[in-house]
């Protein structure tokens, strides 16, 4: 699957005069809405969507500033705005009830949606929520120095230019971090890089990093949203994730915030690409579907 193929599969929906790229597949009655992670795009899910589409109608969009969606200069990519965009999109597609699956950056958006749902502000029915690698306990989050610099509003814009990573460097980094051979196939990384690099994506990357500040500011709102949730929320964690470390998950489990905590073994932040089989099985187990996957 190349990026171009991926683009042809989806469509563009205009929301607030901005174009949002959406993949809308499958004709089953239940809808699975996916909120992707940072700083990638809906393309993360290309390996699992064909399988999931057998059981669900899949709706996955690129957040503004990511993937093929518009990257307007005038938007600072607040997570709150991203939640608004997602809700408006689902409205426009006529969804009445959804199951939400979110990853990393997307989990913050999902939690904002959950908070509003708890406060009777969303007409859409939400059946279940799956959160993967969510960084809720920031004091346990390992921020690398470069992340800290990017987070800074004043310095961020310069730092993001200085660290023009380039495709080769990213490829080397992926190889070093991932033992899995599948990830080393060139096209995966190249496509991701091209997507980020298109429409001056690199210029905007530091604005996107602003979401870490929002996670601090809305920590109570979002943690309370999980505590007060009236719908099942399930949290998945990757044990060897270098970004969202497992200690966060342990603290969460002891706090009784999550109702279920399931480990995905021996994978890193991008298990959807590295080990789609075990990942999809995990989600499916919870849907009580006994069919073998792949």
């Amino acid at each position: 699957m190349t990026a171009e193929n991926w683009k042809n599969k989806g469509k563009f929906v205009t929301i607030e005069n901005k174009k949002v790229f959406v993949i809308d597949e499958g004709d089953k009655p239940g809808t699975l809405a996916i909120l992707h992670g940072y700083p990638t795009s809906s393309y993360d899910y290309h390996r699992i969507i064909p399988e999931l589409a057998k059981y669900f109608r899949i709706v996955v969009h690129d957040h503004l500033g990511f993937g093929f969606s518009d990257k307007p200069d005038s938007l600072t990519y607040s997570l709150i705005d991203q939640a608004d965009i997602a809700l408006q999109l689902w409205n426009k597609l006529g969804l009445k009830s959804v199951t939400i699956l979110a990853h990393d950056y997307g989990t913050s958006i999902a939690k904002e949606i959950l908070a509003r749902k708890n406060h009777n502000l969303i007409p859409i029915r939400i059946n279940k929520m799956y959160l993967c690698s969510s960084s809720m306990r920031l004091e346990h989050l390992h921020l690398r120095n470069i992340d800290k610099l990017l987070k800074d509003r004043k310095l961020g814009r310069y730092i993001s230019r200085l660290t023009s990573y380039g495709y080769r460097k990213i490829k080397r980094k992926f190889k070093k971090d991932n033992i899995n051979y599948q990830i080393q196939k060139d096209y995966d990384i190249k496509d991701m890089w091209n997507q980020l690099n298109s429409t001056e994506g690199q210029k905007e990357v530091h604005f996107l990093s602003n979401f870490i500040n929002e996670r601090y500011t809305y920590w109570h709102r979002w943690t309370n949203a999980l505590k007060e949730a009236k719908i099942p929320v399930k949290i998945f964690w990757e044990k060897t994730d270098p970004v969202a470390i497992k200690e966060i998950a342990i603290v969460l489990a002891t706090e009784d915030v999550s109702k279920y905590l399931v480990w995905i073994e021996n994978v890193k932040h991008y298990s959807i690409i590295e080990t789609p089989n075990s990942w999809i099985k995990l989600v499916f187990d919870y849907q009580n579907i006994d069919k073998p996957v792949f």
Binding site: T76, S78, L87, N210, H220, R221
Partner: protein, 283 residues
């Protein structure tokens, strides 16, 4: 107005697991929602309530963390939460044809409501917005500017004020054009409401509030630029926080808005110039 007398006018309403103090007077079809500013409470509006309730159903609330309402001690009650509480309260009271009046701190809440309205994600519709002496600033964009942020100036002043009653009594007069515009009785009442439920201990969250305003500034600014709800900006001409230039700038950026100045008036038009205030709301 004694605080006891004021408390009897209203009732406590349970909204999203918190208790909110609400005064609901008048029985017109048109609703007027009056929202108070930072470090003060609904009692600011006591002078204008009797007159306005002849024309409107007037709803005045204390925000969570202020006045008689609950004051959660262990966390920062952010703008989004405040907005959610307001929207839920309006739903419970079944308000119609809302004219929303926001003073100071509640400007941000009004903008958040307008933003939700723009994205068509809420059922409640606000017909008209009135912004009173806001503390909106336009320097959020200009990151290179070194000068102290207006909100931060305000924050420093407020934190100093809240040290003790004698400080408060002295400093609150700066917010008025004429020092004798506010009586000692009124100052005392305002202070009692700040102290109520040990509110003074939790009130120092302005830094978080500033951070939040900066984070969501773009979101609100986009709303100002495409606004279709009729808006009116009323500002005391001699306000030390939000001066004439800021107000003019605000109305220029705020589409579909009109600007109205009240002469010889400071930060609290409803206390200092109640007649002018009522006139500018009704007209």
């Amino acid at each position: 107005m004694e605080t006891k007398e004021w408390a009897q006018k209203g009732k406590m309403v349970s909204v999203l697991n918190t208790k909110v103090f609400v005064i609901d007077e008048g029985n017109s079809e048109e609703t007027l929602v009056l929202q108070h500013g930072y470090a003060t409470s609904s009692i600011d509006y006591y002078k204008v309530l009797p007159e306005l309730s002849k024309y409107y159903r007037v709803v005045i609330q204390d925000f969570v963390g202020f006045g008689f309402s609950d004051k959660p001690s262990n966390y920062y009650f952010n703008i989004l939460q405040q907005t959610d509480v307001c929207l839920e309260l309006w739903r419970i009271l079944d308000l119609k044809n809302i004219t929303l009046v926001g003073h100071n701190y509640s400007t941000q809440i009004a903008l958040e409501v307008l933003t939700r309205q723009r994205t068509k994600l809420i059922q409640i519709e606000v017909k008209k917005v009135v912004i009173l002496n806001s503390i909106i600033s336009f320097d959020h964009n200009n990151l290179d500017k070194v000068s102290l942020h207006p909100l931060e100036q305000f924050s420093n002043k407020i934190l100093l004020m809240l040290n003790s009653f004698s400080f408060y009594k002295m400093k609150i007069k700066d917010f008025f054009y004429e020092n004798n515009s506010i009586s000692d009785e009124e100052i005392k009442a305002k202070w009692i409401l700040i102290e109520h439920k040990s509110g003074r201990e939790i009130i120092d969250y302005l830094p978080s509030y500033i951070t939040e305003s900066k984070l969501l500034w773009r979101r609100w600014f986009n709303t100002l630029q495409v606004n279709t709800t009729p808006a009116k900006i009323i500002s005391g001409k001699n306000d030390i926080i939000f001066n004439e230039n800021e107000a003019t700038r605000f109305s220029e950026e705020f589409k579909n808005s009109t600007l109205h100045f009240i002469d010889n008036c400071g930060h609290y038009p409803m206390l200092e110039k109640p007649e002018d205030f009522i006139q500018s709301i009704i007209s």
